[in-house]
Symmetry: C2
Subunit: 158 residues, 2 copies
C-alpha cells in the first residue's frame, strides 16, 4: 500500500470553478477526447501508445501510480495509466485511424488540456474533439455530492 492520498484529499478538497460569478464545485473533471485521422502505425504500436500516454500524464503534472497496456491481435491497443489524480485510458482502432481517450483528473493541479494537445500531436491527429465533463458535483449548501449525472463543462473540435 502506498502512502499518497487521493489528490483531492491532500491539496485541494474539491475543484472549484468560478462560473458566472457563482462558485461551482465538483470532484473530478472528465475529458472525453476523440482523435480522428491519426497515424495508424502509431495507434497500432503498444510501445508508442504506452509511452505517449505516460508522457501525457507527466506533461500535465500528474503522478503515475500504476499502468497497464494490452496489444490486441490483429489491431488495436488498450491501456490505462492510474494517476494520483484519477486515470487516463485509451482504446485505439488503427484500421480506422481513431482513438478514444479518457482523461479523468481530480483537484486543480493537472490541466487535462495539456495531455490532450500532447496526444493530438503525437498521434498526428488531423482532427479531434474535446469534451470536458463535471463528475461528482457538490451541492454548495450541504457539501454533499448532488445526486445527478455529469454536466458538460466545455466541448470543442479542432
Amino acid at each position: 500500500m502506498q502512502k499518497e492520498a487521493h489528490e483531492l484529499a491532500v491539496t485541494s478538497p474539491f475543484t472549484a470553478f468560478q462560473e458566472n460569478g457563482k462558485k461551482e464545485i465538483h470532484l473530478g473533471q472528465h475529458v472525453l477526447a476523440e482523435f480522428f485521422e491519426c497515424d495508424p502505425n502509431t495507434l497500432n504500436s503498444i510501445d508508442k501508445v504506452e509511452k505517449y500516454m505516460v508522457d501525457a500524464a507527466l506533461e500535465c503534472g500528474a503522478t503515475i501510480v500504476q499502468k497497464c497496456f494490452h496489444m490486441f491481435n490483429p489491431y488495436g491497443v488498450s491501456g490505462v495509466v492510474i494517476i494520483s489524480e484519477s486515470h487516463l485510458a485509451i482504446h485505439t482502432w488503427p484500421e480506422l485511424g481513431y482513438a478514444a481517450v479518457d482523461l479523468f483528473t481530480c483537484g486543480d493541479k493537472c490541466d487535462p488540456k495539456v495531455s490532450y494537445e500532447f496526444l493530438k500531436k503525437k498521434f498526428n491527429s488531423k482532427k479531434a474533439t474535446f469534451s470536458e465533463l463535471k463528475r461528482g458535483i457538490i451541492d454548495e449548501e450541504t457539501l454533499k455530492v448532488a445526486e445527478k449525472p455529469f454536466e458538460i463543462m466545455q466541448q470543442f473540435a479542432d
Copy 2:
C-alpha cells in the same frame, strides 16, 4: 502478446442499433455511472472494490485481460479492469459515499447495464445515475468514423 482480438474485430465489426427505423453504428458504448449514498466501508476496501469490479465485468460477459487497483491513504480506491471489450474504471470517495464508474464496451456481446445494476447492489447505493454515450460514431455512407464528439444515447436515475 495475447491472441485475442478487439471484440469488435472478431464478432461484431460495429455496434449497430436500430433507432427510429434508422441504422445507427458506433464503435463503443461508454456508460458513466454515478453511485451516491454507498456503503463507505465497501468503497474504502480495495479488496471489495476490486472483487466487485472484476465480478461486474464477468457478470456482463466480458473477458478480462488485465486489472490494476490502488488504495489511497487515508481514503479511496482507484482501479481499472481492461477487458477484451474495452475497460471498466472506478474512483471512490468513501468519505462522501460516492463512486464514479466508467463502463466502456465495444461490440454487442456485453450489456453494461448488467454491470451497473450489479455494482449498485454491491455498493448498497441508494441512488445512482446511468448515462450511456456513443463513442466513435460511424458515418453510414463512408464507413469512416464521423469527426464529431460523443452523443448521449440514454440517461436515467434510479
